[in-house]
């Protein structure tokens, strides 16, 4: 006797957010990246439609972490001191969907790069690539509030994704994104209640619902991955069940989180039983990325081209009928 498939039908869908603007929309990008729009859980195309597959942005930093292992610096060694060249390599050689420029160097405890210097770097990256841009602040609330109004103006018309807004520091960034037509990243510290609260605060500032991307914080494999995963899953279930205050695409930062782990950094001399260091580190990033895809991430931020290749292979397998 044939057994009928039990298919779930959801009442709502995730908002679609568009990153990047082409010349016809007042920008200079050669393409846009669309996130969200689905009315079903990841890969379950029999239960609904997924108009936009997850995108992969490659992360470029303005200051390399001295603790990075050789496995990570190797592919970028010719461009690692120039964010613009690095970004171009990600676009041309590794076919990144978008560039995520992280302004680590601007942090007061790092190089404390001036606003003018940061804006210059941002403009160079913008000129070097034609794919959409994500600009990720340095993490110091005070410094980011100085940086973002200037960065936002320099990128006006490009419909970038700027982040991050937090529950305690969202007003400057939200006002800036509103003024210059950018999208915003709403960051919460692995806490679904704060995630929802921040969305409400942004909506109260008249941030349009199709310009918010949720960053629920990411724990890499072995270091809190399950927390991120379950929060993403609950967020998505709430969205599909009709909670419009949770119906936003989600971004997962795999890059710096997975390369911070001991499993990615420890040399073979220290951990000979763990196998080849470079393979292990790449697998750690790819496995974390795939986990987040299953959790509902609409965009992954990643570093290593080999890890991205593995993730894309998985995506292709999961989306081929």
């Amino acid at each position: 006797m044939p057994v009928a498939k039990l298919l779930e039908k959801w009442s709502s869908s995730v908002n679609e957010v568009v990153i990047g603007a082409t010349s016809s929309e007042g920008g200079t990008r050669s393409k846009v990246v669309k996130l969200g729009g689905q009315n079903t859980l990841p890969f379950l195309t029999e239960e609904g439609t997924i108009p936009n597959p997850p995108a992969i942005a490659m992360e470029v930093v303005d200051m390399v972490n001295p603790e990075w292992p050789a496995a990570l610096t190797e592919p970028f060694k010719d461009v690692i001191n120039s964010p613009a060249k690095w970004a171009k390599k990600c676009q041309d050689e590794y076919k990144a969907d978008a560039i995520c420029l992280r302004l680590t160097g601007a942090h007061p405890e790092n190089k404390n790069t001036s606003v003018d210097d940061v804006v210059r770097t941002v403009k160079e990256v913008k000129a070097a690539v034609s794919i959409p841009l994500i600009i990720w602040g340095c993490g110091s609330a005070e410094k980011d509030n100085q940086l973002f109004p200037a960065i936002s103006q320099a990128l006006k018309g490009e419909r970038c994704l700027l982040g991050t807004a937090t529950q305690d520091n969202y007003k400057v960034l939200a006002a800036t994104c509103l003024a210059d037509g950018h999208n915003i990243i709403a960051e919460s510290p692995l806490d679904i209640n704060i995630c929802k609260q921040l969305n409400i605060l942004l909506l109260d500032m008249e941030m349009p619902a199709n310009r918010i991307v949720i960053f629920p914080s990411t724990g890499p494999l072995g270091y809190g991955f399950e927390y991120s995963y379950s929060i993403m899953e609950r967020t998505r279930l709430a969205a599909l069940g009709g909670d419009k205050t949770m119906a936003y695409p989600m971004i997962a930062v795999v890059s710096n989180e997975s390369w911070k782990t001991k499993e990615a950094k420890a040399p073979e001399s220290e951990m000979p039983m763990w196998g080849k260091a470079v393979e292990r580190a790449i697998m750690w990033e790819a496995t974390t990325a795939i986990g987040f895809l299953l959790g509902g991430s609409d965009m992954l931020v990643m570093y290593h081209p080999k890890a991205i290749e593995l993730t894309r292979k998985y995506l292709a397998q999961m989306t081929t009928k």
Binding site: I192, N193, I194, C195, K196, Q197, I200, L201, L203, D204, R234, A238, G242, D243, K244, T245, M246
Partner: protein, 263 residues
Amino acid sequence: MLVIGERINGMFKAVRKAIQEKDKKAIQDIAKKEVECGARMLDVNVGPAAADDVAAMQWLVEAIQEVTDTPLSIDSAKPPVIEAGLKACKKKALINSTTGEQAKLETLVGLAKKYNAGLLGLCMDEKGIPDNIGARLEIGLRILACAMEAGISTDDIHLDPVVLPVKFGQAQTPMMFQTIRELKSLADPAPKTVVGLSNVSQGCLDRPMVNRITVVMAIANGLDEAIVDPMDKDLMDSMITAELLLNKFIYCDSYLTAYMKAL
């Protein structure tokens, strides 16, 4: 929780006056206000306001639909008045209401089928309101069976356990709560449960207090929908909080605002 606004009813003086004077704007203002306060369906009842209640119902429905596309609950004891309302409705409507009385039930099930409308059934019949849970459930089942026979899905049936004033029949309220619980198990998919809330506080000194505690207890017993005054903010906040406590949505500090935004 589906909030059905009760304010467009000819029993209220302002509405009666608006119907008599054909003051569209007065009705539209109430409709807009109800939606703004969280109603996602509006009950429409001509009441004793007009000599020609068929024409008045049509006028009300058309006036309301000019300012909102919120679905309507067409409320009358007379099938021709209900049909006039259904004919004018652009969205799927709710018929309010039938009882278990066979002739009435068959007529209204016929209208529900013809106009693809939901049907609200009161757990009472020509003999009155039963004084025990078993007999109320029996009527509920009768309404369900009649609707199912006509090919109406059970989740388009909204069963009302019948709310009586606590002041005049205190033993009725616990029975009402238990009936709500048991109505849900009558069919799969389960019928919706609904109450016309305000009747519970007839004659009470502090009506809002009685209303909001009753609705919270009913929600705890599985109530899906309530015909209430959405402009009673304490009532709305109590209902939202009751749903929060039942883990129906995700908490955040501004959950009251969030609930309204998520509607």
